[in-house]
Amino acid sequence: MRQQQWWRIAIILISAIILGGIYYLLTRVNLLINPTLYLRGRLSALLIWSWFLLLVISATHMIFQTKRRNKYSEELEKLRYENKITRHRFLQRLDHELKNPLTAIRAGLTNVTSDHLSDYVAKEITAIQSQAVRISRLVADLRKIASLEDMTLEVMEISITDLLQETVDSLKSRNNPVDQELILITPSAPWPLPPILGDPDLILLAVLNLIDNALKFTDPGDTIEIRASEEGKYIAIEVADTGRGIPEEEQDRIWEELYRGSQSHGIAGSGLGLPLVKSIVNIHRGRVTLRSKPGRGSVFCIYLPIP
């Protein structure tokens, strides 16, 4: 972008110098041949001069504008970085402040659990216990997002084909098999997917979160298709489903922490799964996309760079 700007300014200046030279030669020649022509020459000279002036003004303007824009984007970058640090500290403190009360609540609940309780009390305690565990999980997810930004990645070569195959196999062989149809499509011809570099545990976590998300927002009988393909310098991993889809106005916001879409009422979840996916993909220098039609389904896509 910036380089283009400089080129434009250089072209304008060079053309201005050339035009100035032509003007000078014209006036010299005209004065010798014919005085009326000389007058006409002065007129055209005026035109050329004013044009030249205009060029100089617009060039200076452009230079200042570029400078100002650079400064602005630098400030914006700084602000974004500061925001990130503040947010990170906030998440860490929140996590820390929630841990001790949660430990106490869970220990207290264990203390009052016994065989001699009335059915009513036992039922209530079980309900509170499961909610305490739910908050614990939320805290754990928050912490994971906060720690992702400064953790050292354990980078190694990963075969996405193998990773997806094993993930789908393990989902199918689970104790409570899923009611949706799981389909995995990975290319084998003319060549299989090239390996990528990344932290296999984190990539797996991201993929599992997407599949888990798809399972939540589909019903028995729906189809979930997991596809991987080579797209230029990236490997694209798509998780597509025939579920309820996401309204367009919510599609940008679902990547925000703790955001719960209008479709998610009554569905268990922390609102942290997708932000976690986005963070993981970001630190691998990839990107995430979403295509969705309400009532038809959604396609979540992760792009991971091929080294």
């Binding site: 860490q92 996590d95 820390h96 841990k99 001790n100 009360p101 949660l102 430990t103 106490a104 869970r106 220990a107 207290g108 264990t110 203390n111 614990s136 999980r137 805290v139 754990a140 912490r143 994971k144 906060a146 720690s147 953790m151 354990e154 190694m156 094993e166 993930t167 393990s170 989902l171 296999p200 545990d201 797996l204 976590l205 599992l208």
Partner: protein, 238 residues
Amino acid sequence: MENPQKILLVDDEQVITDRLGPFLYRAGYQVQVAKDGDRALALVETFLPDLIVLDVMMPLMGGREVLRQLRGGENWTPVIMLTQVGESSERTMALLEGADDYINKPFDSNELAARIKAVLRRAHPGQPPLAVAERLRSGDLVVDRVRQRVYFRTKEIELSPKALSLLSYMIVHPEELLTRERLLDAVWGWDFPVGTRTVDTRIAELRKALEDDPQDPIFIETAPGLGYRFIGRVEKTI
């Protein structure tokens, strides 16, 4: 009936000690509570606990400092640290500085009771635990815990950092059933199920490096449907 074993519970949060104290008492232990590091060190001398449950984050003197002073004074009382899961370095350090085990907050009291039982069963009173040894040996395998190096048949072997942490954790908990959930929590700091692959791939890496046959293992045994167990005899070396 023999005397109940004694546990010293150290945490600055009274709301936690008020809950855990009675819980451990009902589990059959004699319990004393200390709310800071100084009091803990004083009670170690007078109460002579069989095991210390020690919180890492305390004002004035943190749990790690208490542990350092204990081990520095050649006191080998088993210690279970209550750690902050966010700090993975803190967890590794806990084991390196001679804690026998650690458990991340927030935890389930029953899980703490199970850990206490396991550590007490493993402990040899008056003798330094495996966790204070710089190097541990099991057959042809030597783990240098301080330098983070692993030798097999006298040759150094290359392991990924996660596999190394996993091996370091397993070798100080020999003969103990280590569930995948516990290993995830201890080594990765993840306390929710992410499928079995994460742990299993690292175990496979270890087995390959140690030429350990899963069908007839010398080091790592699979407990079907549950997790893994380090079955090699572990000894301290100099």
